[in-house]
Symmetry: C2
DNA sequence: CACATTATGAACCGTTCGGTTCAATACGAG
DNA sequence: CTCGTATTGAACCGAACGGTTCATAATGTG
């Protein structure tokens, strides 16, 4: 056969994802990607075709990890709908605290990409739209279940409440990037949750 | 004396602000700034020193316009605290609808700068921190007044509620950039407001 | 052990970047 | 009218950009 790779493609993708997450697309140079992944330029271009394609795959990798995790929380049949929502908020806050560097969080790559790229890169915009649709659908389901069981307010329909939850989560992410303390993020989540109870 | 300017510095600054708002800092080239302002390179560098300094001034200009407008709404002695908060949310939603291009909003330059620059540009981070502090202070005041008059829930202290309002506004902005319909943004604001009433 | 095949790093490519220089120009004060 | 000053656009600068080329090195297979 031929000479085998000496690096792990999945590991390189994960490293690239973290660079895009921390710096955004435009501020990340191909040199940055080489340093972060430990690969040479030709290995990167051999494996991922272009910076843009690597970004696409990094974003897909992030979405896959993050949304899978959140949908798992929202589908947890062991908990009541409200408990699942509480778990979702707790997960978001915890994650914001975990990715803190120098007093600020890195936020969420999905939010960062929405802000930086959705108006400029139709391909990224499409990925973000499909991801949002999945998350909204899962939220609508759990919110509707909560309304049926009487735990969740019926003052608005599940679609509106799902949009609200999504917006608050995005707001928590931006607040974390703005330097808000973990306790502040928790209180935001708590206020949002209180708004959802019947 | 000497040869006078043929352009309006304030107008050029406003045009530059819109480019940074739409494209972000990194994706905006000095050529883009020349086209948007109608100035030549030397005029831009004569007047604003550098791309970074022009960004700083553009961000300051945005903050000045936006926060002044919001603080005016929050300080309106003619309205009750809750009505002021309602007016603030309405203003945010209306603005998101107004700056829609190609089905998505441009969001808010303050949010965009927080996401793109706060972890990378300490000067921008400082401006954003000071602006956030001003907005939080105004919100605390009106929320505390609402609690005294019984309009606003006392389940959380004014600081926590102010953080919540700020987060939801940021979330509305990101949702607008993600392509949410105006009606969705309105329902988010409505849900947030409902969470604030006693 | 030799071959076919792939990975790799260094050197290279044209372009664009942010920024500067400079000669030509335009104007108000004297 | 002239002089000094400031503005302007075009030409220019070195550096960094994303991306390619290519000679070299490394390997499983026959």
């Amino acid at each position: 056969m031929a000479r085998p790779r000496t690096f792990d493609e999945a590991g390189a993708l994960d490293a690239a994802m973290r660079v895009f997450w921390a710096n955004g697309y435009e501020a990340t140079s191909t040199h940055d990607l080489c340093v972060a992944t430990g690969l040479g330029r030709s290995s990167i271009y051999n494996t991922f075709q272009s910076k843009h394609e690597l970004y696409r795959r990094a974003l897909a990798h992030y979405i896959d990890t993050m949304t899978t995790r959140q949908l798992t929380l929202l589908d947890d049949a062991e908990r009541s709908p409200l408990e699942r929502l509480r778990a979702l908020f707790a997960d978001v806050v915890q994650q914001e605290v975990e990715v803190r560097r120098g007093g600020r969080s890195l936020g969420c790559l999905v939010v960062n990409a929405t802000v930086e790229q959705s108006g400029r890169d139709p391909e990224a915009a499409g990925m973000l739209e499909r991801d949002l649709a999945r998350r909204l659908a899962a939220l609508r389901t759990v919110l509707a279940a909560g309304q049926r069981s009487g735990e969740v307010t019926s003052q608005q329909d599940p679609e509106a409440l799902a949009r609200f939850v999504t917006a608050v989560i995005g707001g928590i992410r931006v607040s974390g990037q703005g330097g808000a303390e973990p306790a502040s993020l928790e209180s935001i989540a708590q206020t949002a949750l209180a708004a959802l109870v019947a």
